[in-house]
Amino acid sequence: MPTNVATPERDLSWHDGAGRARIDVWTLGTIALAAVIMVPLVSVVVMALSPSERIWSHLVDTVLWQYVRVTLTLMIGVGIGVTVIGAGTAWLVTMCRFPGRRIFNWAMLLPLAVPAYVLAFVVTDQLEYAGSVQTALRALFGWQSRQDYWFPEVRSLGSAIVVMTLVLYPYVYLLARAAFLEQSVCVIEVSLTLGRGPWRSFFHVALPLARPAIVVGVTLALMETVNDFGTVDFFAVNTFTAGIYDVWLNMNSRAGAAQLATVLLLFVLALIGAERWGRRGQRFHHTTTKYRDLPRYQLRGGRAALAFLACLLPLALGFILPATVLAGYALDFYEETLSRDFAVHALNSLTLSTVSAAIAVAAGVFMAYGVRLSGGSMIRSVTRLASVGYAIPGAVLAIGIVFPLGLFDNAVDGLSRTLFGVPTGLLLSGTIAGLVYGYLARFLALSYGTMESSLGKITPSMDGAARTLGHTPGGTLRRVHFPLMRGSLLTAALLVFVDCMKELPLTLILRPFNYDTLATFVYQYASDELLEESALGALSIVGAGILPVIMLSVTVARSRPGRVDNDAGIAA
């Protein structure tokens, strides 16, 4: 403002410093954060540089192509599954009216809280010979034994695809629904007036416009698919990740495992790169500030029933079934498993997940905004690279964390001993801080991806307007972007929270002594396929995820810009 302008000279020198420093805080901060988060990845790549002797020739001669084929099939299957279910149901609940829509609106997210291996247990439990399905079939047809009929192999690639689709589709649902809600209704109406019906408008306008969000969701789901070990191990499916663990633990070759993990990483990067290239030049900012209530198609009769079923089925299989089965087992077995420490485990899980979610979201926002401010493609690539830790199998990433943490701790310890004669011991290794760092390295993709896509939807004019009105980049973020991204911020926080609640391999390896979470508590039983004993803990994980899921859903529905819509959330 003119009032604070003194002599040009003084003004100028002051500007010079402040002007440059301000840019650098965000850029340097983003690069520094990305570098810190990338350390485990670099560490894995460094491990991969050691020779692995005959591992590769062995793999190439035997199972490598099977790993590749199975992993690709799994990815394609899950990719299609989560896209169809996630985007399809998101469209139904945002754009149509049918019985149960308001409940489905938030309930569709619930399978997110179910760990995949738990659903795998439950599904197998129900489908195998002694399970309810085959028992019922035998009773129905009078079959006596296994030899009397054919039943598909339960522990198979197909089952793995189905189970992972059911617990991972909420990623796509969540992001797609937010995208549909944020879409200007005008573009849909334009499409309708151009003679395209609701279905064709969905495929030709709404879906392509929501593509960045859907891609983020599918990418997250696929990264989780490739890093999974528990589910594929249970279903006896030989994926790349199963191979990584085999090479590491059975063939005693850490370098070989790191090499396989690096290949996996490069593959995921190539995939992400290909998708970005595929939509180069397209822009997805909102093109108008005019928002109105979404017109909802009223579905009746058969169509309403179909929409109802389309939503009910994934929900029933992905949540109601496992929750019910777990609740039954938990009731039967709580005496054996409800130890006096159970509340402590639960508290540990909740605190750890909350703090990690807050930190991951803060880091995600900072980096996504830093990239937006600098606009450079270099920095964009660096941050994206930092967020692919999610695709690496958890235990391998943990090893990538353990070594640098140990190096750091011992270096600090050595320095402190020489300088002050005081040992510092392990500052980060085997501490909660180290564990939170691990979660950040693993789950940054969840928060960064969500933030990046959310920021991308805000037109740069908003930044320009706020900046020219005297707000710094930080002030602009706080006063303009945060309120506009409120739903996405909470989405990111929820995703990280729920994933931290479920997280296992990192937690097992990085946690301190005498420190259990619900997930590690469940694992001691789950590792031996003791479904009943693990039920109480698993149910608690699911339960802890439900409340934030519902809260989030209400918030997201309300966060539509210029919303006058009062029936989008369950609260209304």
Binding site: T62, V63, V355, A358, D409, G425, F482, R511, E529
Partner: protein, 354 residues
């Protein structure tokens, strides 16, 4: 609204960090009587024994259940490694830790007296605490006594389509296959594994109990399992269906009489280099090899005590005595990578129809 969200996040994070720092253990603080333990054993199995140890000695046991990555965790911490001792369930892991040179030799008269020489490392790097036999469970109805007596029989075409087993990559099966390689050489082992694969009734899957269940359900006639699972099923009051599974099978020790003896695996422990609580760690190991602890293993988990004179559980006794394969477990452990590669080579885990 906008401000409050921002502040809330900040406050929440600050609060959480405070809460966490309160919960975080004081690393580096050395209490006089405690011992830090890395364990491959599930807490619900090992905690009762550890609690007895604390009650008896006043030494607190800080434990953490780690499976994958334990060695890496130890190595990364270097001189500051906080763990004093390691507990494993499989000789493979013991040998891996030994090979990585993280064990410190222990000379203890008590341990040497309690544990027979062939069940501990000659230099005291590790000590077996229980042995566990990997046996055949056969259908009481469909397999006659004497029809299957050896590991080699598992590859006999007369069992085509009749055998169930968990993943060939599971540590217990890797150890079993490694023992075949150790005895018969790689070529013979490959032939045998191909024969076994051809005899499978289904793709390898599930845990050991699931194989007994499959026999009960008529899916197969022969299963490979560790003995204690049989004990756990027979005594499972909470899940009576498991008693039915166990009732359908007969436990059969392999390679008896003129054979090389039953293949066994061991669970064991060792003290780590640079242990800050070395004396306490040795005390813990000594306790684990004592009559009291050995009896808990025997009674609760139906494993075989290593200490001579400690009785098997009644149930285990009812299965009769058996001759043990005398080839040292450490020798067998050397062939684990080869065993794992063999599983890949014959595509064992793809099941019979591949």
């Amino acid at each position: 609204m906008t401000k409050s969200l921002f502040q809330k996040t900040g406050t929440l994070a600050a609060f959480g960090i405070l809460a966490l720092s309160g919960l975080a253990p004081l690393s580096g603080a050395v209490a006089a009587e405690e011992v830090n333990l890395y364990s491959y054993r599930q807490p619900f199995l090992i905690d009762p024994v550890l609690e007895r140890f604390t009650a008896k000695t006043g030494i607190k046991v800080n434990s953490v259940y780690v499976k994958k990555g334990m060695l890496e965790k130890i190595k990364a911490a270097g001189a500051n490694n906080p763990a004093d001792a390691v507990l494993t369930v499989d000789v493979g892991r013991l040998d891996e830790l030994r090979a990585a040179d993280v064990f410190d030799p222990v000379q203890s008269d008590i341990l040497n007296a309690n544990i027979p020489a062939h069940l501990r490392h000659p230099d005291g790097l590790w000590f077996a605490l229980t042995t566990r036999a990997r046996v055949a469970l056969v259908s009481k109805d469909r397999v006659k006594p004497g029809e299957l007596t050896s590991i080699a029989d598992l590859a006999d075409p007369k069992f085509k389509g009749r055998i169930c087993v968990r993943s060939g990559k599971h540590g217990y099966n890797i150890a079993l296959i490694a023992s075949v390689i150790a005895h018969d050489g790689e070529a013979a082992a490959e032939k045998w594994l191909r024969g076994l694969k051809a005899n499978l009734a289904r793709k390898p899957q599930g845990n050991d109990r699931a194989q007994a269940k499959a026999i009960y359900e008529g899916i197969c006639d022969v299963a490979i399992s560790n003995t204690y699972y049989m004990g756990l099923m027979m005594t499972n009051d909470k899940k009576p269906e498991q008693k039915q599974w166990a009732a359908a099978v007969r436990l059969t020790y392999l390679d008896q009489d003129n054979g090389r003896g039953q293949h066994v695996n061991v669970s064991g422990a060792g003290v780590l280099k640079g242990a800050k609580h070395r004396a306490q760690a040795i005390k813990l190991l000594e306790f684990l090899s004592s009559d009291e602890a050995q009896r808990i293993y025997a009674e609760h988990n139906h494993e075989y005590p290593v200490k001579p004179g400690v009785p098997f559980s009644k149930l285990v006794q009812s299965w009769g005595s058996f001759k043990i394969d005398t080839l040292s477990v450490q020798e067998i452990a050397k062939y684990r990578p080869a065993a794992s590669m063999l599983v890949d080579k014959v595509r064992f885990n793809d099941g019979p129809n591949s």
